[in-house]
Assembly symmetry: C2
Homo-oligomer: 227 residues x 2
DNA sequence: CCGGAGGGTATACGGCGTATACGTCTACAC
DNA sequence: GTGTAGACGTATACGCCGTATACCCTCCGG
C-alpha cells in the first residue's frame, strides 16, 4: 500500500524541523527516504503538493481527537476559541517553518475545515448573528495567524520599537509619537502575555458584535469631555 | 554618485510588478540594468538586501509627503488610522509580491518608523494609556498586514468557506457550524467592504481600551438571559 | 508465457545565488 | 607625464535547485 507517501511526508517534516524550510529540497527528502529524487514523483505531484501536505499534517493535530460522540455543551465559547488560538500558536512555535505557508493555502484539508467549523460554532454559540459569523472567523484567524507569523518571522523584534535599527537614523526629534511613550517601547519579555491580552480584546470585540450598536448613541468616543 | 543603486532598485521593482517575486532574480535584474549579474554586487550586498530595499521603497510611499510644518490638529484619530490602513491595503494590492516579505522584516526604514509613529500618535490622541500603545500598534498592524496578505495570497478564496475544495470531501454532516450559516458562506463580492467593517470593529476595540473595564461589571457576555 | 503496471534509477536541462579572479577606466599625487 | 589606487564591470565556475524524459526491474493476473 501507499505507506510510501507518508514516509516521504514524515521525512519532509523532519527535515523542516531540523533545518528549516529551505532545507526541504526534493533531493534532501529523497536522500532521507533512501531513494532517488525522481522516485518521489511517483507519490507526490511536485514540491508544491508536498508543502501543502506538510501544512495539512500540522493542522490535523490541532483539533482534539474527536473525543467521543457526546461531550455535553463543551466549554464556554471563549475558552473554546482561546484554546484553539493557543494551540495554533504553540504549534507554529514548534514548527516555525510553517509560518510563510499559512497565508497562501486556504484551509482545504478536512481537519482544517473542522477547525473552521469549531470557530463557527463558537461564534454562533456566543450569539453572533449568522450573517457576521464568517467575517469574524476571518478576522480572528487572520489576526492569530498574523501574530504568530510576525512572532516567528521576526517582524516584532526591535525595529518598529527602537527606531535606531541599523539604517534608520532619523533626526531623533522626528518621532513625537515614540518620544511620549518611551518607557513602554521595549518588546515585552513574554509575547504569550501579549497574545493573551490581544485574545481578550478580540473576545470583547465579538461580544460587541452580539449587541450591535444602533448607530445612535455612538457619538464618537467622547462627545467633548476629554482633557 | 551612487545613482546606480537606485537604478537597480527600480529595475527590481519593475520586474516584481511585471512578473512577480519569482521573476526577481539577480540575473534578470542585471539584464534589465544592462549589466552582468556580478556587477550588482558592487552596489548591493546580496539578494536579501535587495528585497529589503524593495519593501522599504514601497513603505516610503505610504506617508503623505510631510505636507508642511503646520497642518493643525490633523484629522480625527479614527480617520488617520483608517487612512493609513486603506493606503497600506491599496499599496499591497498594487504590488502583491510584497505580501510574503512584510512579515519577515521589521519596520526598519525611516519611513516605516514614521508610519509607526503616526499610529502611536493616533492611539495616544484617542486616549489609549501609554502602556497599551505599543501593544495596540502591533495588534492593528498585525491584522492589517495579515488581512491583505491573506487577500493577495489566496487564503481567503473559497476553501475555508466551501469545504468541498478538491481534497476535503467530508461526510457532509460533520460540519454543524457550517450548516447553520450556509446562506452566508460565500466570499463577499468586495473584500474592501469587509475590510472596512473589520477596521470599524478595531476602532471600537481601541475605544474600549480607552475606558478599561474595572473587571467587575464583566459578568461574561450576558448573565443568564440568553434564549 | 506474457504483458502491463507500479515503483525505482540515470541522465540531463535550465535556472538560481554568488565566490573568485581578472580587466579597465578615472582621478589624483608626485 | 607617470604611477597607482580605487571604483566599476566582466568571465568563469561551483554547487545547489525542481523536474522532464527515458529506461529498467519485479511482480502478478490472464
Amino acid at each position: 500500500m501507499g505507506g510510501r507517501r507518508e514516509e516521504i511526508l514524515d521525512a519532509a517534516l523532519a527535515i523542516a524541523d531540523e533545518r528549516g524550510l529551505d532545507g526541504v529540497s526534493m533531493r534532501a527528502v529523497a536522500e532521507r527516504v533512501g531513494v532517488t529524487p525522481m522516485a518521489l514523483y511517483r507519490h507526490v505531484s511536485g514540491k508544491a503538493e508536498l508543502l501543502d501536505a506538510m501544512v495539512g499534517h500540522l493542522l490535523s493535530a490541532l483539533l482534539p481527537p474527536d473525543a467521543g460522540p457526546d461531550q455535553g455543551p463543551a466549554q464556554r465559547w471563549e475558552e473554546g476559541l482561546a484554546a484553539l488560538a493557543r494551540g495554533f500558536r504553540a504549534m507554529v512555535l514548534r514548527h516555525p517553518w510553517a509560518a510563510p505557508l499559512l497565508f497562501s493555502r486556504p484551509a482545504v484539508t478536512p481537519d482544517a475545515a473542522r477547525a473552521v467549523d469549531a470557530i463557527y460554532t463558537a461564534l454562533t454559540e456566543a450569539g453572533v448573528p449568522d450573517r457576521e459569523v464568517p467575517r469574524l472567523e476571518r478576522l480572528i484567524t487572520t489576526f492569530v495567524i498574523g501574530f504568530v507569523a510576525s512572532e516567528v518571522s521576526g517582524r516584532f523584534t526591535s525595529g518598529s520599537l527602537d527606531p535606531r535599527g541599523r539604517r534608520g537614523r532619523l533626526p531623533e526629534g522626528d518621532l513625537p509619537g515614540h518620544a511620549r511613550i518611551k518607557p513602554w517601547l521595549h518588546l515585552p519579555d513574554d509575547l504569550a502575555i501579549e497574545f493573551e491580552a490581544d485574545l481578550d480584546d478580540i473576545m470583547r470585540l465579538i461580544e460587541a458584535a452580539v449587541h450591535p450598536r444602533t448607530d445612535s448613541e455612538s457619538g464618537s468616543s467622547t462627545p467633548d469631555s476629554s482633557a
